[in-house]
Symmetry: C2
Subunit: 235 residues, 2 copies
Amino acid sequence: MNQVVQFGTMQMLVESLLDGFVSTKDVLSAGDFGIGTGEGVDGELIIIDGVAYQIDGEGQVHEVGPDFPIAFGNVHKGDFEFLKEYEDITLKELQDEIVKEVKTKSLFFAFKIEGDFDAVQTRSANKSTRPWPSLSQIAEGQNVFDTTDTDGIMVGYYSPKLFQGAAVPGFHQHYLSNAHDFGGHVLGAKLKHVKVSVQMLSGLDLRLPAENADYRAADLTQLDHLNAAIHAAES
Amino acid sequence: MNQVVQFGTMQMLVESLLDGFVSTKDVLSAGDFGIGTGEGVDGELIIIDGVAYQIDGEGQVHEVGPDFPIAFGNVHKGDFEFLKEYEDITLKELQDEIVKEVKTKSLFFAFKIEGDFDAVQTRSANKSTRPWPSLSQIAEGQNVFDTTDTDGIMVGYYSPKLFQGAAVPGFHQHYLSNAHDFGGHVLGAKLKHVKVSVQMLSGLDLRLPAENADYRAADLTQLDHLNAAIHAAES
């Protein structure tokens, strides 16, 4: 059984540690499906069948080159199992259905949602410049995009609540339309007719920026800041 | 750079998930230095140069066989670097010195403390029986051992605070005397003359009991219980 490979932590983003400490090449060598963000929160990434796409801060889709620097990402070797088809359901309702089907909140798993969507809302941010801003400053400057009647794919991960702060707790998914004209970090969606596949994962292969001086020097022992960010994201 | 491989989580122990879900053979295939505990908190384990020893609940030391079931463990491929020699220092003081030397609290690292000890205090528990008791019930029944003028080795890990609940936060070390007549989970020590080696680690390779029905079914989403246990351990 595969693990989810995670580069960096959610805490790093909250604490403005936004250096791209790995390249797309490194990330793709760890898996062929995934999600992530570039250095300085440079757009949203989605990896499908070994190809990494960026939805930039203006909503434009690009395939990214092997040396593109990545600040945070989740990736794994795809070996999905078809779960079920669903019709006329919100993303939130679908997530509850998926948890019922897999019958556990204690394991990491990957999922893929493919098909026709009535509506998808995403966000993406333009790359920040050094010194890196706070994640809340980035959130203020990000763009929110809406589309209707789109066909495409969501790729995402479920992480058990225990790992909040290290990982993004619960569901986290990015979207790319089949026409490559829409995508990003998914805020919400209404699904018309989709095929859902799931891959249970045996654990977490977490790779930290061990050679990064800012990461090593950062005071990451005060968890109040992180907990406030998690609380704000959940409310 | 190697990762620390961790089998299971601290939360599992707090939530009475004490099945031995891996064998010593599995653990040794992931590394040749480490610490852990057997199924049902069956003593304390220390792995030195690829050999796994158990200090049982009565303080007796045994080499464990390949099929011995393990409920929790940390292990890695040893490639330590000599750091410094220290004399007449408490374990707590030495830990502060090690953090000063490695200059980070943001990375996992392994350490080895070898030499002469004025005093070492350890604990170890006898194996519980199913249904597994709570960790606090186990703590009530554990034995505490003291010795003076001992020579031996401590093996341990430092885990960044972010990972508390998944890992044991901060320092965690087990001891084995060279005569194999004393050891366990270290509660405190006074070090006479020791050689300290350290190995920085690039991340965490966490392996969960993905096939274990009790683990999958457990409600691990309520973190209050876990946080209370962490708070109790720290106070």
